[in-house]
């Protein structure tokens, strides 16, 4: 396997707060990589830096070997590096199908092609993916009227619709009904194995991330604290201390 995302020596501060300090990590192509850490440890900040949401103070971020730390959010998204939001963002006034159709990849779309209606294939794919996340029955409902957990699933389906190479998921299971979490884990694994999407996942639920990830990074106070396989992380005294200290 080769690295698809390479973060090296990235720092980012907000005023006096050093949200990320000298962070280096890699995400292997085709893997499921986890990012954990106590609240406020800088996980979302790192995601934001990777997708170009804010400029970084120093360091370099490479995607498929290409430096992307100077690119804009939509440019990075069009390279196939997509993110979902911790605060779930969907288009609330539109129905689920419309949300999906808006999410078609804009990577190769020319202006002329934008002046066309969605193709039957796109509609079919939208319905197929809504079925995949279990929202098929609700496809004509206004997205804003769905429960928070269902909105998270819709956002996940929208991300898949966009056919990303890498998907950054910020706490995909937060707010999801515990009885549905196992189903979501299966779907994430399916997206990884069958659709070939590399996943980089921020997750607070240890059971979930230990179950899925090939490799896990742990942040604390803006710094990289530990890295390793789920077993190594689980038994790492520093990680245990960081979590106990934080709670």
């Amino acid at each position: 396997m080769s690295a698809i995302i390479e973060v090296s020596h990235v720092s980012k501060s907000f005023g006096g707060v050093k949200a990320n300090e000298d962070i280096s990590l890699t995400v292997e192509k085709g893997s499921i990589t986890g990012l954990i850490g106590p609240n406020g440890s800088g996980k979302t900040t790192l995601f934001n830096s990777i997708v170009g949401y804010h400029p970084i103070d120093s360091g370099s971020i490479r995607f498929e070997g290409r430096e992307i730390s100077k690119l804009l959010v939509p440019e990075i998204a069009r390279l196939g590096l997509l993110r979902t939001f911790q605060q779930t963002r969907i288009y609330g006034k539109m129905n689920c199908v419309e949300n999906m159709l808006i999410s078609i990849p804009h990577r190769k779309m020319t202006l002329l092609e934008a002046f066309r209606r969605n193709t039957p294939e796109e509609r079919e794919r939208a319905e197929h993916l809504l079925h995949f996340v279990g929202l098929y029955e609700k496809r004509w409902l206004q997205a804003g009227s769905l429960s928070f957990g269902q909105q998270k699933l819709l956002e996940f389906a929208m991300a898949l619709m966009n056919e990303p190479t890498v998907l950054l998921l910020d706490e995909p299971t937060a707010g999801i009904n515990p009885t549905l979490i196992n189903g979501l884990i299966d779907r994430l694994k399916h997206a990884n194995r069958e659709f070939g999407i590399t996943l980089f996942i921020i997750e607070h639920n240890m059971r979930v991330i230990m179950n899925m990830a090939d490799r896990i990074y742990c942040l604390a106070h803006g710094r990289l604290l530990a890295e390793g396989t789920p077993e190594e992380i689980q038994n790492d005294q520093r990680v245990i201390d960081a979590y106990l200290g934080a709670h």
Binding site: L82, N95, S103, I104, H106, A114, R117, S145, N162
Partner: protein, 345 residues
């Protein structure tokens, strides 16, 4: 399309064609009504469908007037001599010159406005919410002031357009049909445009621009092209207005920020933002309201207009279509899960 819809559209089209013969005394008002429909629909492209409320679209109207006039005149005469007020020479246009000027001038006005929207757009689309509104308003105000200081464009006096040599009744009909044709083309275009991927993308920008960016949508490109299309139609409408009014001057007619510049927004708010027919219905209601108050409440017309605006923004923020959509969501294909269904799920 269902037969009923087809019949309805057919009837509306027939009415559009027959209107100047059915109401010969109101031909000018009917032409102005189409102008209102055009500026309302184009305002809604950015305001209602894309979430960018411009107060400066009147810039394209005024610019369209000037570009249309300048092209028409310079096709046959030196502009400086034509606009030099001290000269009493009359410049006569044969019907052929007149119509050639009208066609080329109006197309040129549309193209010029579209290109200017595209060129200045990056400056304005970095602004959000009220800043975009005020920024675009500033553009229109500044343009009016600048143009009134350019002598070759007639300065503060404005420009007197060539006069149609023929029958005045025919002239009124020509103006009406040109506006009506432009309006019908615009409605047909928009009913298709809003269904395309492009139309969906601008709705995404309106609902959550940050999300749209994160999904890789070319937000700036879509914003620029949408504004340019809108400016294209407004610019052409401005040019036709110049022919209709015969004489126009920069501040009160061309860059009339407080009249037409605000009216177009009121029309859309009245009918309902972000819908195809809302701006059309709003323009009709507003135009009737305006004609009635301007004729029967003279002296109080602005008070009545102010009261109307207050009533809309306080009680009917989503306009007539929004109110209808709230009452009859199924007419608009909106499905909201019932409480029971949700509880049992």
């Amino acid at each position: 399309m269902s037969m009923r819809k087809l019949a309805l559209y057919g009837a509306l089209l027939l009415l559009t064609v027959a209107a100047p013969f059915l109401f010969p005394a109101y031909q000018t008002q009917l032409a102005t009504l189409w102008l209102m429909i055009i500026v309302a629909l184009t305002w809604d492209m950015t305001g209602g469908q894309m979430g960018y409320n411009s107060l400066g679209n009147i810039f394209f109207y005024g610019t369209g007037m000037y570009v249309g006039a300048v092209i028409t005149i310079t096709l046959y005469f030196p502009l400086a001599e034509y606009t030099d007020a001290s000269r009493s020479e009359t410049f006569t246009f044969t019907p052929e010159m007149y119509f050639t000027g009208m066609v080329l001038g109006t197309l040129g006005a549309g193209l010029f406005c579209a290109l200017s929207a595209y060129a200045i757009g990056p400056l304005f689309f970095g602004l959000r919410g009220p800043y975009f509104a005020i920024g675009t308003l500033g553009l229109a105000i500044a343009a009016g002031e600048i143009v009134s200081n350019i002598d070759i464009l007639g300065g503060g006096q404005g420009i007197s357009m060539p006069v149609y040599g023929g029958d005045f009744e025919v002239f009124k009909k020509i103006i009406y049909y040109v506006f009506a044709a432009m309006g019908v083309v615009l409605i047909v275009f928009l009913s298709w445009f809003y269904q395309t991927r492009f139309g969906k993308a601008i709705n995404a920008i309106r609902d959550d621009e940050e999300k749209a960016e994160a999904m890789g949508i070319h937000t700036l490109r879509y914003k620029l092209v949408t504004w340019a299309i809108s400016a294209f139609f407004v610019g052409m409408a401005g040019s036709i207005s110049a022919f209709q009014l015969i004489h126009f001057e920069p501040l009160e007619t061309a860059y009339q920020t407080i009249n037409l510049g605000i009216f177009m927004v009121v029309c859309v708010l009245l009918g309902g933002k972000g819908t195809l027919w809302g701006p059309v219905i709003g323009a009709i209601l507003f135009h009737v309201f305006k004609e009635v108050t301007w004729n029967y409440l003279l002296g109080w017309q602005w008070v009545a207009l102010g009261a109307l605006i207050v009533v809309i923004v306080v009680f009917f923020q989503d306009g007539l279509m929004g109110w209808l959509r709230h009452r009859k969501p199924e007419w608009f294909g909106i499905r909201v899960e019932s409480r029971e269904a949700r509880a049992s799920a």
